[in-house]
Structure formats: structure tokens, C-alpha cells
Amino acid sequence: MSETKVTRGWADQDKPRTMHSELLEINMGPQHPATHGVLRLLVKTDGEIVHSVTPYLGYLHRCAEKIAEGCDWRQWMVYTDRFDYLAPMNMNFGYAVAVENMLGVEVPERAEHIRVICAELQRIASHLIAVGTFGLDMGAWTPLLYCFREREEILNIFERLSGGRMLYNYFDVGGVRFDAYDGFEADVLRMVNVMEQKLVEYNTLLSYNKIFIERTADVGVIDVDTCHQYGCTGPVLRGAGTPFDCRKDDPYSIYDRFEFDVPYGTGEQGTVGDCWDRYMVRVRECFESCRIIRQAVAAMPGGDVMSPDLKKLVKVPAGSLYTRTESSKGEIGFHIFADGGSKPFRNKVRSPSYSNLHVIEKVGPGMMVSDLVATVGSLDIVLGEIDR
């Protein structure tokens, strides 16, 4: 743009004119129907092809890690709800397990079973949103409504259980806060029966639809090495072909008693690690969660739900520990530094979506704008846990 003006004369008519073109800088977000929350993606494109993607975070930053330093250990549990607000039970589970590992307290059997059932139901609910909104990004409006219809049932169960539909305040360090209601097991089993039928319906409607496959197969391929380098976990890593799951490979709570498979991407419709693989891993995980729930309900004992030798003001012995559990989005880790007192010294939350989103900077360039939307949708990010 700072070229001096060149006059062309008769003698220049055979010389080609130099074309000057620029990349088009577009802002996707913070308010945008497809960025799953307040996320800003600065996309530089050359027509339809993306040259670079730069995510800008922090619109939902509430510095919960600083708040932790002023709260008790048990008080901070409610802040974990607000990280991944679509799967709060999983967040709570992660934090409870992290503190219990350092405390050395034993969680009663009944509480463990209730926790597993809640976590798996929450995983299904979160995957339903992931599947529905992914279809919505592709232009299929109807599966979203169907997924929400099923999610409504799960939220009703949670409401009867804990009083809340989205943020539960039910888990606690050492167990759960109160016992399950009468009829909890019957409700859960009925839900699981319905769920398994409906998942087949979603497969017919969306998963094997030709247009959907064309939009998602071979799109946004993330291979295993990239996943390891960028710290991607959960369905992103499993979609890339590795059956790694914290519940199996780094077991916590009572998951080692249950029999379930870990679905992983095989490149069934395109390449291993494309959007379809990640999507299908989520759908198949819902089936596996149903299996776990059935086993947990069958094995549920009686008893109390809170560890009896837990003081009201918990004091965690000095030291540090990083504990990770499997949330629906990936591996949620809490790196806890304790000093022996009643308040945490430093709670660091390692959220799965933070690292999952990072990979878009590598995978984004070279694809079309529509594919970028598809890939971001298939990563299934929640801004609450990215920004904390």
C-alpha cells in the first residue's frame, strides 16, 4: 500500500499489472452463534481458506483460583460447579477426589456409587449438548431439540436429587451431602432404558446422514502426536485413535469395579481423528455410560453417604498433588498445594477445554471457514472452564 504511483505508458502494455491482495481479518465472537460461549476467534482468511486462527480468551474469567485462597476446602466446591457448567458433577467429582487423596479420608460405599451414577448421568447430559449443538452448527436443527428433550429428563432426576438443575451443590469432600431420594434407582434405570433407544434414533437422524458425513469426515484431522503435544484429552484424544481414559488408565473412585469399553476413533467414515470420529466417540460413550450406570445401580449398597470421621473444618496436610479425573470434555485436573491449614494455598485447575482449544491454532490454518466452525464444535469447549 505504500508503493509509489507508477505510471504506465504505451511501452508497458505487455507487462502484467501487479495485483495486491490482503488477508481478510474476521472476528468470530465474542458474541457469535457458533463459538459456544464468549470466545473471540480472530480469523485471517484468504477468501474461504483460513490462514490463521487466534483465540482470545478471558471474557469469562472470574479468578476462582484466587477465591480458593480465601475459602475453606469444602466451601470451594461450589466454585468448581461453575467451571464446566454443562457437567458440574464431573467437576465436583474431580475436586472431591483430589482433596480426598490428600486427606486420606475414606468415602462410604453408598456415596461412591451415587457419585458414579451422578457422574455418568452428567456425562450423558453433557454429551447430549455436544451432539446437539454440533448438529446445529452443521445446520441440522432437529437433533438439538431431541437431545434437549432427553437432557430434560436427566436434569429432572438431578433436581429431585439435589435441588438444582444446572449447579448442584451436591458433592462434598468425603461423600455426598445427602442421601438419594426414594425411587432414585428406578428413575435412573428408566432414564437409561429410554436413553439407549434414543441414541439409536440419533444415529439414524444425524450420525449416518450423508450430508453430515460429508461435512465432518476428513475435516479437522487431529492426529495422536498433535494431541499429546497440545495436551488434548477426552474425546479429542480418543477420536485420534488412542483408547486412553482416566477411568481405565488412571482409575479413581470405584471405576475399576465396573466393566465398560472405551470407544475410540477408527477412521470409519474418513480419516482417523476427524470431526466425525470425535462426534461418534461421544455418542458411543453415552452407551458405555449407560452400562456403567446399570452396574452401579445393581451394586448399590445401603449405608451413610458422608464419611463419619470428617471434621467440619477440613485441614489438608501440607504438600502438593495433581489429581486428574475424566470429565465429559476430557481430563480435568486439580493441582492442589496445601499448607496444613483450613484454606488452600494454591488450587490450580487444569481444564480440558483450555488445552483442547489450543490445538485450533495448529489445525485451523488451511481449512475453510465452515470447516473451522465444524472443528471448533467438535472440540466441545466450555468457556467457563477455559477462563475459570
Binding site: 479468578c63 503435544q229 495436551g231 485441614k315 502438593s320 493441582h335 496444613g340 491449614g341 490450580k348
Partner: protein, 209 residues
């Protein structure tokens, strides 16, 4: 591999750079600040170790930590009776640190490395060349704790605004009174309504021209 064996291997390869062992709930080594990138590269590339994933990179402000383990660390600032954030003149003196929690997908073992630097010389080499995910985690450590990483490709704030002053996760952090005209301390509007003159709005891009 057992943690002790890993520590022995590290001591053998890095010599003086391995300062101490971490023998808490997690097992690891304390590495000298200047050699952390080398240590991480060793962790990743050594076949017996093969730590191909960085699970978590945590920035810590050790100021006021109670070493005796009795929980008497310095309290963070709270709120006064009127509900306003407390202020303090305290200046932190403690060290800053970074913890690296690593995992090997091939061998299935975990290990933690730790680095500790004094507050006024808080600079350590970056490990984003070893694990790409460290780029964003280090940006967050810089943003919230104030640790600088030399050699980082793009060290700027990630969660807070670019123009923010201060590092919130430090123990001596005091919330500013206002930011770009927005009052942050819960000023009592009815009693002291701020006037239009106090508000300094940033110039809108494109308006000057």
C-alpha cells in the same frame, strides 16, 4: 519406572541442576531454574522416561508459605465490614515457582518437576519447545503470577486484558480502584456518585481519523 529411579536418572544426566527431591503426595525433582528446559527435553526424549504429555503447568507464589505445615500462611486480603476489598501495603518477598506435572502415555508413569526463583529475578526458560501446550499455560502463569519465560514465542496476557496492571495470584496483589473508567471497588454510588469527569474512556478505534 519408580520415582526414585527417575530422580536417579535425572541426577546422573543433569548433575548439579537437580537440586532436591519432591517427596510429597506427588513425586518429583526440584530443578535449577536455568536448566529446566534441558530437563524437560530429557524427560521427553529419553526412551526409558518418554514423558510425552505435560499434564499441568502451575505457577505458584510461595510468599508467606508456612513451611512448618501448620497452616499459618499469610492470609489473602478479604473484605471489610462495608463489603469493600481490603487494601494493604504489604510487599511480597517470597519466591515464585512453577510446577510441571508430566505423564508418559507409553510407560504410564507420572513425574513432577519444580522450579523456584526469587521474586525480583522471576525469569526461567520456556518449555514450549518441548511440549506445545506449555505455550498457553506459561502465558497464564505470566498473566496471573508474573513469571516471565525467556524464549517464549508470544508472551502476553491470556486471561486478563492486555492493559491490566498487576498479577492477581500474587499474595500481595491489591485490586485497583478502577480500570478504564469502570469502578472496581464497589464504590457506594448513592453516597459518592462518580462524576463524568472521573470516567476516562479509551479512544475508540477509527474515531480519530
Amino acid at each position: 519406572m519408580e520415582a526414585a529411579a527417575i530422580h536417579a536418572l535425572l541426577t546422573e544426566k543433569l548433575g548439579d541442576a537437580v537440586l532436591d527431591v519432591i517427596d510429597s503426595f506427588e513425586k518429583g525433582s526440584v530443578i535449577a531454574a536455568g536448566s529446566i528446559a534441558e530437563a524437560c527435553r530429557l524427560l521427553r526424549d529419553e526412551p526409558a522416561l518418554h514423558f510425552d504429555q505435560l499434564m499441568c503447568l502451575t505457577g505458584v507464589d510461595w510468599d508467606g508459605y508456612d513451611e512448618s505445615g501448620k497452616g499459618k500462611s499469610v492470609d489473602i486480603l478479604g473484605y471489610d465490614e462495608l463489603g469493600r476489598p481490603e487494601k494493604s501495603d504489604r510487599v511480597g518477598e517470597g519466591d515464585l515457582g512453577v510446577y510441571y506435572a508430566c505423564y508418559s502415555s507409553r510407560h504410564g508413569h507420572k513425574y513432577t518437576l519444580a522450579v523456584r526463583v526469587p521474586r525480583d529475578a522471576a525469569q526461567i526458560p520456556t518449555v514450549s519447545g518441548v511440549w506445545a501446550t506449555a505455550a498457553w499455560h506459561e502465558r497464564e502463569a505470566y498473566d496471573l503470577v508474573g513469571m516471565t519465560f525467556s524464549g517464549h514465542p508470544d508472551l502476553r496476557r491470556i486471561l486478563l486484558e492486555d492493559g491490566w496492571v498487576g498479577h492477581p495470584l500474587r499474595k500481595d496483589y491489591v485490586m485497583p480502584d478502577q480500570w478504564q473508567g469502570v469502578p472496581l471497588q464497589g464504590q457506594d454510588y448513592a453516597k459518592n456518585p462518580f462524576s463524568e469527569d472521573d470516567v476516562v474512556l479509551p479512544a475508540r478505534p477509527g474515531q480519530e481519523g
